[in-house]
């Protein structure tokens, strides 16, 4: 038995089998349980260590598998990362039943997750770009259901993400040259520029994020939310792999400045755009752009903080996105539109669902006592220590995102309806969103609860993990 077979092979085999189940809630249950099981396995069973079951029987999970002469390697240091990814994916799979898209979502989501994990584990790493591209192609049916005409958002998503692959592949080839002649400044610059372009496309760095608000308007918010969580997370981990592997890259003098500038632009443009939105879905799209901006800012602090700031963001951002997108999905299904004019006074009809949206939005801003607060304040103060003007720009971005949240709050409580409060929405929907709000508060008040999950994450990146 090998680790890649368990954490990549099993989900890839399971995904098509789930298509055969007719009922969405059963698919969501099996998908969620499988992901949870894989998460627990990654947490509990050591790789490359013999485990004795009885006096005569023992087994060992090896760390690699060979496919067509190439290796897929999952090291023992990667296990906490796997546990986190599968654990968070389990949340998404369980929630898909409440969003009524489980039949499409769970099989495709599981395939995408397995492929992205394969992309992080493949050696030589340049194959990762090709595997990520395959995952992106599989994401298209998830984002554009067969009964709907494909919109501009999904087309742009496909174009921008596909354009990334050639840049990454070519930079991989140039990087091999840099390894053999590290003093060649021209080659080094070319490799860095191509790599930056590839990641700019993959991470939808300004101005390449236009597909996000468009998709939030035209597709299921839950499906888009999943992609907005999984794809940037996997791509950031892939980028960390580059930094970990190449000393010249992590010691590149301009790297912190480039990452900080890109992060600031994302926070600022995402925040400012959110302030003027009149559509709840687009608002979430812009907030996710701010999220990516903060992840970039956290990477700009690697020299001082290693990966601590980046790891702190992983759980709050995922939790916020899953609740926000589930709440929006429910609202869209029931009210057909997420425009401000359609959601006026909705807090009286959907108190828990609307609260989910508001809490997730405030958590994305980093309001005290909410899950987003500890990482955002840590990154903000880290940026302020480096450059006070940059911290002011972060403040403007956050203030703009807060304006969006206050506008949303104003709209959903604005009603002259005297009928009073009713609890609409399905029981499962209300319970899941209610639980989500509880966890946002819990992680905000007791951020140390996430420490056991996050403490081993940096060990996956030996040279930058600290």
């Amino acid at each position: 038995m090998s680790a890649p077979l368990i954490w990549i092979g099993i989900p890839l085999l399971l995904a098509p089998l789930l298509w055969f189940i007719k009922r969405g809630d059963i698919i969501a249950f099996f998908g969620g349980i499988s992901a949870l099981f894989l998460s627990a396995l990654a947490w509990l069973i050591p790789i490359n260590t013999a485990i004795r079951i009885t006096a005569n029987i023992s087994f060992k999970i090896s760390d690699s598998i060979e496919i067509l002469g190439r290796q897929i390697i999952i090291n023992p240091e990667d296990q906490s990362l796997l546990a986190l990814l599968y654990g968070l994916a389990a949340l998404w799979f369980f929630g898909s039943s409440a969003a009524y898209i489980a039949r499409r979502f769970v099989p495709l989501g599981m395939t995408i997750l397995a492929l992205l994990i394969a992309s992080l584990a493949v050696e030589p790493f340049l194959y990762a770009a090709l595997i990520i591209q395959t995952a992106i192609l599989i994401a298209v049916p998830l984002l554009s259901p067969p009964e709907n005409k494909p919109g501009r958002g999904v087309i742009r998503f496909l174009i921008y993400q596909t354009l990334a692959m050639p840049f990454i592949l070519f930079s991989g080839w140039l990087l091999a040259g840099v390894e053999s002649s590290p003093g060649d400044i021209e080659l080094l610059t070319q490799a860095a520029v191509l790599l930056a372009l590839g990641f700019a496309f993959l991470l939808s760095i300004f101005p390449l994020f236009t597909w996000i608000p468009l998709l939030m308007e035209e597709a299921s918010p839950y499906a888009v939310g999943f992609i907005l969580w999984l794809l940037p997370t996997a791509v950031f981990l892939f980028a960390l792999g580059f930094l970990n592997r190449y000393a010249w890259l992590r010691e590149y003098p301009q790297l912190p400045n480039v990452l900080r500038t890109a992060g600031l632009i994302m926070v600022l443009t995402g925040g400012l755009s959110a302030a003027f939105q009149r559509h709840l879905g687009r608002m979430m799209g812009y907030a996710s752009i701010v999220n990516m901006g903060f992840s970039l800012l956290s990477l700009s602090l690697i020299a001082d903080h290693q990966l601590s700031a980046f790891s702190l963001l992983l759980i709050p951002q995922a939790l916020g996105l899953v609740i926000w997108s589930l709440a929006l999905s429910v609202l869209k299904m029931r009210e057909k539109s997420l425009d401000f004019k359609n959601v006026q006074g909705m807090i009286q009809r959907y108190p828990i669902i609307i609260s989910g949206i508001i809490f997730a939005h405030f958590s994305a801003i980093g309001l005290p006592l909410l899950a987003g607060f500890p990482p955002i304040i840590a990154i903000w103060s880290g940026v302020a220590k480096e450059e006070i003007i940059a911290a002011s720009w972060v403040a403007i971005g956050l203030a703009s995102l807060l304006t969006g949240a206050i506008r949303t709050l104003a709209v959903v409580v604005m009603t002259d309806d005297e009928d009073g409060w009713t609890l609409n929405g399905g029981t499962l929907q209300n319970i899941l969103i209610g639980l989500g709000i509880f966890f946002i508060l819990l992680l905000g008040i007791f951020p140390q609860f996430s420490y056991p999950v996050l403490s081993n994450l940096p060990s996956a990146f030996r040279y930058i993990g600290g």
Partner: protein, 203 residues
């Protein structure tokens, strides 16, 4: 010498094929041009790869064109009529002019790129740059799924010619073939999405 001549003819074929993507609105012509394009890609790739490895690109390309063709032809014939909104003065003349500019840009950039990549000739670089630039141009001019997929395939084909000169791993060739086929399948999916509803409306 003969190889050089055939190679430059391939480059010319690539330009003609991509030009036809820009000016024709009929999907049949577009897909025929796509099949022709992969013939050029095959020839330029075999300058660096073995014949059998390069043939993978040709076979994949033709399979891609077939998948898209079969999907498109299965749609309601009423949807087949090409839109007539492009007059010579409004659309095609502009597109031809843009394509010529793209060709000039590709030719003028060729020496720089050739100098950057050791072991690759001007002919492959020119062919590749034509496909990359024209692919991007096509992507910028349309939101229609079939043409978007053709644009992406053109861009990737351009990249594949350059990449063939620097990387000859079989697995890379196989994965690139899978991505090309995957793009065709995604294209087929996007073309047929909502098609039934459209056909109902047309009835």
């Amino acid at each position: 010498m003969a190889t050089q001549i055939i190679s430059w003819i391939s480059v010319f074929i690539l330009f003609l094929a991509t030009l036809s993507f820009l000016i024709t609105q009929d999907w049949r012509w577009s897909l025929a041009a796509l099949a022709l394009l992969y013939l050029g890609v095959f020839w330029l790739t075999q300058l660096h790869w073995t014949f059998s490895m390069s043939a993978v690109k040709l076979v994949t390309g033709w399979m891609v064109a077939t998948i898209l063709g079969i999907t498109r032809s299965a749609l309601d014939p009423e949807l087949d009529t090409p839109p007539q909104h492009l007059s010579w003065s409004q659309g095609r003349f502009f597109r031809i002019l843009t394509a010529v500019l793209a060709l000039v840009l590709a030719i003028s950039t060729t020496p720089t790129v050739t100098a950057l990549l050791p072991g690759i000739g001007a002919v492959e670089v020119t062919g590749s740059l034509i496909l990359l630039i024209m692919g991007l141009l096509l992507l910028g001019l349309t939101v229609e799924p079939l043409h978007v997929i053709i644009g992406l395939l053109t861009f990737i084909a351009g990249f594949e010619i350059l990449y063939a000169a620097v990387e000859d791993a079989t697995l890379v060739a196989a994965l690139l073939a899978i991505i090309n086929l995957g793009l065709a399948l995604v294209g087929a999916y996007l073309i047929t999405a909502n098609a039934e509803e459209n056909q109902e409306k047309n009835r």
